[in-house]
Amino acid sequence: MLVLLKALAAQAHQWRHGYDLMKETGLLSGTLYPLLMRMTDQGLVEAEWREPVQPGRPPRHAYRLTTQGLELARSATDRADAPPSKAALA
């Protein structure tokens, strides 16, 4: 989930497509879609049908983080980047 949060947070205000997220994160569709579904259910991600860039293609489902999702992504990234505490090193 962290890798997906990071990928979505990297371009927080941009709508992202499932296949592009798969390629960027290295997640397989069998992992990505359950994560997206769960995160959408929890209000971390919003999903929307977007018109395709290329004409003649069907609309695509696109995703981006909500404010709540963005906060979670920031706190998760901070936690991951923070140096280990003394207690943890002891």
Binding site: G18, M22, S29, G30, T31, Y33, P34, M37, A47, H61
Partner: protein, 216 residues
């Protein structure tokens, strides 16, 4: 071939996701076109199917579909197999007997004075047992289609066959314990079917069976 299989997998994934996740099924379908253009349709479709199957127990439609499959694979199909096996001479539920022919064999279980009658009755009895098996397969199909009217007709057909068998076997002075076992099994099946049909009605109160099946 690969693409056809991938298409089938993605369609199956869509069915597994059900009405509550219809948007996600369509999302997978639209991304499938991209995966196909990039030459990875099968891996993508297989992943989507895994995701959809994992999702099934999370929503009520999925639980209903799974329960129906369990009912069919765990009860109705084994009953059909049992009837075919018994008709073709495999061991029956009655100890010491090995199917229809041993029951009819004169001098072992049957009356030697009725040997001619047994020989004449054997093909018809065999046909009735095999029809009973076919009736169960028809019932299984109707249950998976969620076509309760057809399932009801199949159950009535099975019931009629069992009654015919019981009468026929009683007339020939044959042991009817196996038929009693099938009556008991049919009663269990009917109770399970009635629960399944009620659950289906609660899920889709409109009662539009065809459209319900389209969504699952």
């Amino acid at each position: 071939m690969t693409e056809a299989m991938a298409k089938a997998l993605i369609a199956l994934a869509g069915r597994c996701l059900g009405e509550s996740r219809r948007d996600w099924a369509l999302a997978m379908q639209s991304e499938f076109d991209i995966a196909r253009a990039e030459g990875r349709p099968l891996a993508f479709a297989a992943g989507c199917l895994i995701a959809a199957v994992r999702e099934m127990p999370m929503h009520e439609e999925g639980r209903f579909v799974l329960a129906n499959y369990i009912l069919v694979i765990g009860l109705v199909v084994p009953m059909a197999a049992l009837q075919f096996a018994w008709g073709l001479g495999f061991p029956s539920s009655v100890p010491g007997q090995t199917g229809l022919y041993s029951m009819l064999a004169p001098g072992i279980f049957g009356d030697p004075y009725l040997a001619g009658a047994y020989a004449a009755a054997a093909p018809l009895l065999l046909a009735l047992w095999l029809l009973l098996g076919l009736g169960h397969l028809r019932l299984a199909w109707a249950v998976l289609d969620h076509d309760w009217a057809r399932a009801g007709r199949a159950a009535a057909f099975i019931m009629a066959l069992i009654v015919t068998l019981a009468i026929f076997m009683a007339v020939l002075f044959l042991d009817c314990r196996d038929v009693m076992f099938h009556v008991a099994a049919l009663a269990v099946e009917l109770i399970a079917l009635s629960c399944s049909a009620r659950w289906h009605r609660e899920l889709f109160p409109s009662g539009d069976v065809a459209s319900c099946w389209q969504t699952i």
